[in-house]
Amino acid sequence: MTSGSVLLEAKQLGKQFKTGSGTLDLFVNLNLTIHAGETIAIIGKSGAGKSTLLSLLAGLDTATSGTVEFEGKPLESLTDAERAKLRADKIAFIFQSFHLLPELTAQDNVALPLEIRQQAGAESKASEWLRNVGLGDRTDHYPSQLSGGEQQRVAIARAFAGNPALLFADEPTGNLDEATGQQIVEQLFSLNEQQGTTLILITHDLELAKRCQRRIQLSNGAIEELS
């Protein structure tokens, strides 16, 4: 697999939390460069700061020090509206708890991000993506009528439907049993390969981590690239 241009770059990134007794330095001076098309796993003990790092990289949270540049533009310099536009056009998420809207059918859930950007043909695109994840016959079902694994597949379809350049997944199989988790992982990687999306994934599962091109371990406030 060939690595493209630099997509995301963290420079001297640091994050501090104010706690009751003082400050907690989660990490300092963290540097990370991610190229377009790469798949990266972030691993580490619970509480190491994986989710925090991910939200910094996605521009959902602001760093205490350092910068994150997306396609060469520092995220901190963008306005709320510009960041929203960036998320709408370029970035997608898959969450551990699937976060589907209960009042919408599977198809409408997938179509939602397309509707938000006022993209034409949202419905047909949504049903096409549901077919891609093997739920072509469940388009009219509501989340409450789907199993956990099926719900996560709808969430994957939703993430890919927008054609993102960058996809974040925080423990996407955390709420699923092993076999179902395995299917989801297969789906995720095969779609990712087709689409050439850059994937940043948090996981506790070392097998899953091994399927990524790069593995980054976060511990004691520093990152280490595993070979």
Binding site: S51, T52, L54, S55, L60, D61, D80, A81, A84, K85, L86, R87, A88, D89, I91, A92, F93, F95, Q96, S97, H99, L101, P102, E103, L104, L112, P113, E115, I116, R117, Q118, G162, D170, E171, G174, N175
Partner: protein, 825 residues
């Protein structure tokens, strides 16, 4: 933004209608909108039908109203200025047909009439004034007398043929005239009927219309020469009649609806706040998909707007439907059908619904924009509790208060009430929580559940404050209004002993007096005729009185209009001399016996000399005695009585009142047949009408009370719901730690039982204080405790809390406990 937003808003509202907070919100908002619509439509109809003296109901551009025949000069001045004029004489009179009599308001008119607005009759008439020998009557006269078109009715000595039903007419007159059914009569029939002798009580009006500039100069020229018995009504100084009992009743009912609106607002506020919290992960999801914060807020305003539209439509319709029953509800009391309401009164309720939802929804909607998207990365579902934006809430509450005050149309009174309700709610809540806290400590070592109870009371203290504040206020208001109403009715009935006169006979002319005396004596009707002469108080101790009085005294009624004067040899039996001495009937001195209040209000003393202007002639006398008058005795009562020597020679009419038992009422008809020009006023009919209005007033305040109670209970429901998750976690923890399900249930019972007891007791306490103050200062009746309140209120409060709480939650099974703890971890 995106055209998808309204659709997303609609879908999500539709789903969320199943949540308790939206149901509670919709219910509270519907009650508020329905009540407001109903009240604004009905009061608009009553006001425009009976109270408002606006252009179209004035019947002219300008009216000179007088208690004496209109002066020639007035008419001439108007003619000189090129204005059109016409005269109206209106007075109460009994109209008869067969054996039936009804008290009505006769309006004697000549063409052109009216100068503005129109008279509508059924069947429609080409003329706007009845032909001589005919009359038009409002529905209630026709109903009561059992007439149909073409029948004859008796108007004094004249028999008139009823040719049309009067559906609508401007120029209703003032006071009792507005509520009595009208009879329109041609001026040419007045003399024949002989109902109006010299000095008779009547309202004389000069209706004027024409060019604006001419009207203005008429008014400016008239003003300096205006006499005390005259008044100008014009579009410029046109205002709704204040001090009218019906108007007061209406504003009372409207004001009492404030509590309902306040409780509904609080409910909506809490429901929307809860909704806002529940929306956080949804909002985070929308933001993660790239919806801008601005679009997200727009989305929530769409949702609120859609909900408000539904509520406005439903509530507005319900209010209008209820209001359309008003004619039925007020039947027998109204002189004619009420006019339709102005369209603006239909939108007040719905507008209030929009204001409530959008203003109270503003803080939670704006807060959504600040939801951190990163919270989606957490594995748990619990939303982060953000700091509430108090500034936003303050702004929205201030705006909403402004809207409420605007609606209530009596901003000062409403503002005072609003502040009082707010402060007492806070105070009661704080007190109740304090008492509950000490109770908990007292019970801590005496009950098995004591320590758990303390923990619970501490954890729920904020909610207890709110719940108690609302509950105490609610129970207190309800019991005060309930008890005070009963006291008022008792007081009202006690005022009129059995043998008070039920007929007033007025306008008896000098030449009729011997005949009337004879008639009454023949039938052994025990009564006495009083002479009545009108005069204006002008001098005090031989100098003009006005410069000698202070500002407050100048406002006294006795100076603003003509007084009814009388003369007597003996003091009236129902009056008591409290100062000075009654005169010797033979004395030639001009003496005065004065009523106590008038003496005090004007700062007069025994020995003062009062001078009156009686039809242009000066009459004076020295105050030699002061009387206490029982105004509610239904006897002719007078502020000023002269010794015979002073007033005997002046022309006047005679007045009397007497009692006729139910079975002798036919004698009233005989009297009128023999003396058709007398004005007989049936007090029973009047009282029945008055009692009817009072009853309706009581019913409408009961209606408002029920609405208040309903909103209050909804509010308690939402406060209990707020704490529900917290309670569930706590109960689950206790149960997994080994407490039995029954124990946690007992803890709930204990908590709500105590809360109810404390609230009930506080309510009893404050209700008793309020009632005592009312009895002491307003009703002036002896103080008494209301024992029935002492146990009903605490019992009621405890029951309400326990009932709502147990409706809201079924006991938890142990498996559920684990699930709850796991999710909230």
């Amino acid at each position: 933004m995106s055209s998808a937003i309204p659709r997303i808003a609609r879908r999500q509202l539709w789903m969320q209608l199943r949540t308790i907070e939206w149901r509670v919100l919709i219910f509270a908002a519907l009650l508020a909108v329905t009540l407001t619509s109903f009240l604004s439509i009905v009061s608009d109809r009553l006001e425009s039908g009976l109270l408002r003296e606006s252009a179209s109901v004035l019947g002219a551009d300008l009216v000179v109203r007088s208690s004496r025949p209109i002066h020639e000069q007035r008419t001439e001045l108007a003619k000189e200025l090129g204005l059109t004029t016409t005269q109206v004489i209106q007075f109460p009179t009994m109209v008869g047909a067969g054996d039936n009599l009804i008290l009505s308001s006769a309006k004697v008119i000549t063409a052109p009439y009216p100068l503005r607005g129109e008279v509508i009759t059924d069947p429609p008439m080409s003329a706007t004034v009845p032909e001589p020998g005919t009359a038009w009557a409002e529905e209630r006269i026709i109903d009561q007398l059992g007439l149909s078109i073409g029948d004859t009715l008796q108007f004094g000595y004249a028999d008139l043929v009823l040719t049309a039903t009067l559906k609508q007419s401007p120029d209703r007159g003032s006071g009792f005239n507005t509520l009595n059914p009208h009879l329109l009569v041609n001026k040419q029939d007045l003399e024949k009927s002989a109902v109006l002798g010299p000095g008779s009580r009547a309202e004389f009006r000069l209706l004027i219309s024409g060019e604006n500039s001419a009207l203005k100069s008429f008014e400016t020229q008239l003003k300096p020469t205006l006499e005390s018995h005259e008044r100008i009504l014009s579009l410029i100084n046109d205002q709704p009649v204040t001090g009218n009992a019906l108007a007061n009743g209406l504003s009372y009912v409207r004001l009492s609806s404030l509590t309902t609106l306040l409780l509904a607002s609080l409910t909506i506020l809490l429901a929307l706040r809860r909704f806002g919290h529940a929306q956080q992960s949804r909002s985070a999801l929308f933001l993660s998909m790239g919806l801008t914060p601005k679009a997200l807020v727009t989305l929530y305003f769409w949702q609120l707007g859609i909900a408000a539209t539904v509520i406005a439509l439903l509530g507005g319709t319900a209010g209008a439907l209820l209001a359309s029953l008003a004619d039925l509800w007020l039947s027998g009391l109204l002189p004619q059908a009420l006019p339709n309401a102005q369209w603006s009164s239909y939108i007040i309720g719905p507008a209030l619904g929009y204001a409530m939802l959008l203003l109270l929804g503003m803080p939670p909607a704006l807060e959504q924009a600040k939801v951190p998207v990163a919270q989606l990365l957490r594995s748990d579902q619990s939303s982060t509790t953000q700091k509430a934006s108090w500034g936003l809430y303050a702004v929205s509450l201030v705006l909403l208060s402004a809207v409420l005050l605007l609606f209530l149309a009596a901003p000062a009174a409403a503002a005072v009430l609003l502040v009082m309700l707010g402060i007492s709610g806070l105070l009661f809540g704080w007190l109740a929580q304090l008492i509950l806290h000490s109770l908990g400590h007292f019970l801590a070592n005496r009950l098995a559940l004591g320590r758990l109870l303390i923990m619970r009371l501490r954890q729920q203290r904020k909610w207890h404050r709110l719940q108690a504040g609302v509950m105490v206020l609610l129970l207190m208001l309800l019991s005060v209004i309930w008890v005070a109403r009963q006291d008022l009715v008792k007081e009202w009935q006690a005022q009129f002993p059995e043998d008070v006169p039920n007929y007033f006979l007025i306008n008896i002319q000098e030449w009729q007096k011997p005949g009337v005396d004879q008639f009454l004596a023949d039938r052994e009707i025990d009564t006495e005729l009083y002479p009545m002469i009108r005069g204006r108080l002008v001098d005090l101790n031989d100098a003009p009185i006005r410069p000698q009085l202070n500002e407050e005294q100048l406002k006294d009624n006795s100076l603003r209009r003509e007084l009814n004067l009388t003369w007597r040899e003996q003091p009236p039996v129902q009056n008591q001399i409290i100062q000075g001495e009654w005169w010797d009937p033979e004395s030639n001195d001009h003496q005065i016996s004065i009523e106590r209040d008038m003496l005090e209000d004007l700062g007069l003393e025994l020995g003062d000399r009062l001078g009156f202007d009686v039809g242009g002639q000066p009459v004076s006398g020295v105050i030699t005695s002061v009387r206490e008058v029982k105004w509610e005795s239904f006897q002719p009562n007078f502020y000023v009585i002269f010794s015979p020597a002073a007033l005997q020679s002046y022309p006047g009419t005679w007045i009397t009142s007497f009692k006729l038992a139910e079975e002798r009422k036919a004698q009233a008809n005989e009297l009128l047949r023999e003396f058709p020009s007398l004005t007989l006023i049936d007090i029973d009919q009047l009282m029945k009408q008055l009692a009817g209005w009072l009853e309706r007033l009581a019913e409408s305040s009961a209606f408002v009370l029920i609405m208040t109670l309903a909103t209050g209970l909804i509010l308690v429901t939402i406060t209990l719901l707020q704490a529900l998750e917290q309670r569930k976690t706590e109960v689950a923890l206790l149960q997994t730690l080994g407490a039995r399900a029954t124990e946690t249930k007992h803890l709930d019972l204990l908590e709500f039982g105590l809360l109810g007891l404390v609230c009930g007791s506080l309510a009893v306490f404050s209700a008793e204080i309020t009632l005592a103050a009312m009895n002491e200062f307003l009703l002036k009746i002896p103080l008494s405790a209301h024992w029935e309140l002492w146990f009903t209120l605490p019992a009621l409060a405890s029951f309400a809390f326990i009932a709502i709480a147990s409706l809201l939650r079924a006991p938890l099974k142990i498996e559920q406990c684990y699930a709850i703890l796991k999710n909230n971890g």
